[in-house]
């Protein structure tokens, strides 16, 4: 299974304070372990939300919102995609992660990605919709 491991933002990460040499070294070593174990598929750190934008959908209208965003603890500061055997394995790896935000309270959130099998049996309506989409895509390819 694949999981996304989300590093939650903190006051410091949102203030754009860069991680220390020591943390970078520890994180580099941890990443190396993940790669050597064949677990890491991808991962990156995100810049502070001040540099981000949002597209908001409400009542059929779209609007653009500039960062920074409130609710710091709900924001994302970084992520990994891991290939693991189970949620327990993901937890064990996460436990081995160096404290990503030393001196502050922070969290790693582990969320399984949907696999094809998770969608189970499609309802006839959804199936028909997918078929139509496929037909349209096909005709676009030909056109």
């Amino acid at each position: 299974m694949r999981v996304m491991v989300i590093v939650k933002a903190t006051k410091n990460s949102e203030a754009g304070i860069m991680p220390s040499e020591k943390l970078l070294g520890a994180m580099g070593k941890f990443n190396e372990e993940l790669v050597k174990a064949g677990v890491m598929l991808a991962g990156d750190g995100l810049q502070a939300s001040a540099k981000g934008k949002r597209v908001r959908f409400a009542n059929g209208k779209k609007s653009i919102v500039d960062g920074p965003f409130a609710e710091t603890k709900e924001l994302v500061a970084g992520f990994w995609i891991w290939q693991v055997k189970s949620m327990d394995e993901a937890l064990e790896w996460a436990r081995r992660c160096p404290d990503p935000m030393p001196g502050e309270e922070s969290e790693l959130e582990i969320r399984p990605l949907f696999e094809t099998a998770d969608f189970g049996e499609l309802s006839p309506e959804i199936q028909a919709q997918q078929d139509r989409l496929r037909t349209t895509l096909e005709s676009q390819k030909r056109g």
Binding site: A37, T116, L122, Q130, K141
Partner: protein, 428 residues
């Protein structure tokens, strides 16, 4: 509840640590069976202690220390037996003497070497490929015998037997435990790559049973492949194999239709291809190409897979490049299966008649006599040439040779289609 949660957590630790633990133990005791026993004893100790104390901060070191203590006990016991035998004037047992000092020193050696040694032993050429696959999944993948049996759709005792026999063969052949270097290492890698790809393919194109793809096996093979790529980063073909597996796995979602039936490459919905795996495949291919001249067979196959991955639509496929890559691959391997694939590529680049000519030249090939894809390809080319009645016969023959239920059904459906077209042509 609490206890079972800890149990699962210990299993997760085991999954992460068991290969390194076994690798270290095999180096110390130079005996795969004994190493496995010692590792198991360490696990039993962990299962007894950790629910009370919690999982230690460095569980790998804990397990290694526990296993090491048992190893020292065991080796002392063996020495006592040996000495007793010597005083009795009998010949000492063949087990090499090992001292606590050797073990201390051994612990400081490189973990990467331990894993590589374990993989080389598991994939040793004295073993059959089936035995190598089972042992690799067991020692490197951390799978239980039961899990391996389920993956290969075989009864558990069959796999257990296979592993026991493999370990005995290794012991009897007195397989050396030194990690070879340079050219010697390069000479050993093909047997490892073969096994990893065999495991991958058993998952990707399941030959047995009704399931067309068994993703778990693909994931296990990819994981071993990715580990190997870090162990021997200088070996081009290792990256070539990883690239090939990443690129093939990127199509998994699109290869299965809504009812689980196979969808052929050119008919797949490319928007469902996994872009993350494609990018990883490209990166691994780049590493392989930078290291190798000329390109090896896995790298060439990965380069072919990359041509498909690069094409936004099936029509945009660079068939001329694919033909050139197959030319190189055919020259390198001399494999009739490669020749058959090359014929398909030629048909795409230069038309079905050109492809059919090449396929017909393979008709007498003994290696392809029972290979369902030969009549399957021939049937497709005949159909594209409008020779539907002949096409139908070939596709029916292909179906009778196919072992996978899903594939058989697909071939029969195509045969019926051709039959209907042939009948239509007669009426007109």
């Amino acid at each position: 509840m609490q206890a079972s949660a800890t149990h699962q957590a210990i299993e997760a630790v085991w999954r992460i640590e068991s290969a390194r633990l076994l690798g270290g133990l095999v180096r110390m005791v130079r005996d795969v069976s004994l190493a496995e026993d010692l590792a198991q004893e360490a696990l039993v100790l962990a299962l007894a202690h950790w629910p009370g104390t919690g999982i230690p901060d460095n569980p790998g070191a804990w397990l290694m220390a526990a296993a090491k203590n048992r190893a020292i006990d065991e080796l002392r016991r063996r020495r006592r037996v040996e000495q007793k035998h010597e005083t009795l004037g009998e010949e000492a047992s063949a087990a090499p003497p090992a001292h606590a000092m050797d073990i201390e020193r051994a612990l400081d050696e490189d973990v990467g070497d331990d894993l590589l040694r374990l993989l080389l032993v598991a994939c040793h050429p004295v073993l059959s490929t089936d035995a190598r696959a089972a042992l690799t999944l067991r020692l490197l993948g951390g799978l239980t015998t039961d899990e391996i049996a389920r993956a290969f759709l075989l009864p558990e005792p069959t796999i257990a037997q296979r592993i026991v026999r493999a370990k005995r063969t290794l012991a009897e052949a007195k397989v050396p435990f030194e990690v070879p270097r340079g050219d010697d290492l390069a000479a050993r890698l093909p047997s490892v790559l073969e096994v990893v790809y065999l495991i991958f393919n058993e998952g990707y194109a399941a030959t047995r049973g009704d399931e067309w793809i068994r993703t778990d096996l693909c994931d296990d093979a990819l994981r071993v492949g990715r580990i190997l790529a870090e162990l021997v980063p200088q070996a081009a073909e290792v990256h070539g194999l990883v690239a090939l597996m990443e690129l093939q796995a990127s199509r998994t979602r699109a290869r299965r239709g809504p009812d689980g039936e196979p969808v052929l490459l050119l008919e797949q919905d490319r928007s469902r291809w996994d872009q993350l795996l494609i990018r990883r495949g490209f990166a691994a291919l780049e590493r392989a190409e930078a290291l190798a001249r000329p390109l090896g067979p896995y790298t060439l196959q990965a380069a072919i897979a990359a041509c498909h991955a690069r094409a936004r639509t099936a029509d945009a496929t660079d068939w001329h490049r694919i033909v050139a890559l197959y030319d190189a691959l055919a020259e390198l391997t001399g494999s009739p299966v490669v020749e058959l694939n090359r014929a398909v590529a030629v048909a795409m680049a230069h038309g079905p008649a050109a492809g059919l000519e090449l396929v017909d030249a393979l008709a007498e090939e003994p290696a392809l006599r029972r290979y369902h894809l030969l009549p399957s390809v021939r049937g497709d080319l005949l159909a594209r040439l409008g020779r539907y009645a002949e096409a139908r016969g070939e596709l029916e023959r292909a179906a009778s040779l196919a072992e996978n239920g899903r594939e058989q059904a697909l071939l029969l459906a195509r045969a019926r289609e051709c039959g209907a077209k042939a009948a239509g042509a007669l009426q007109n």
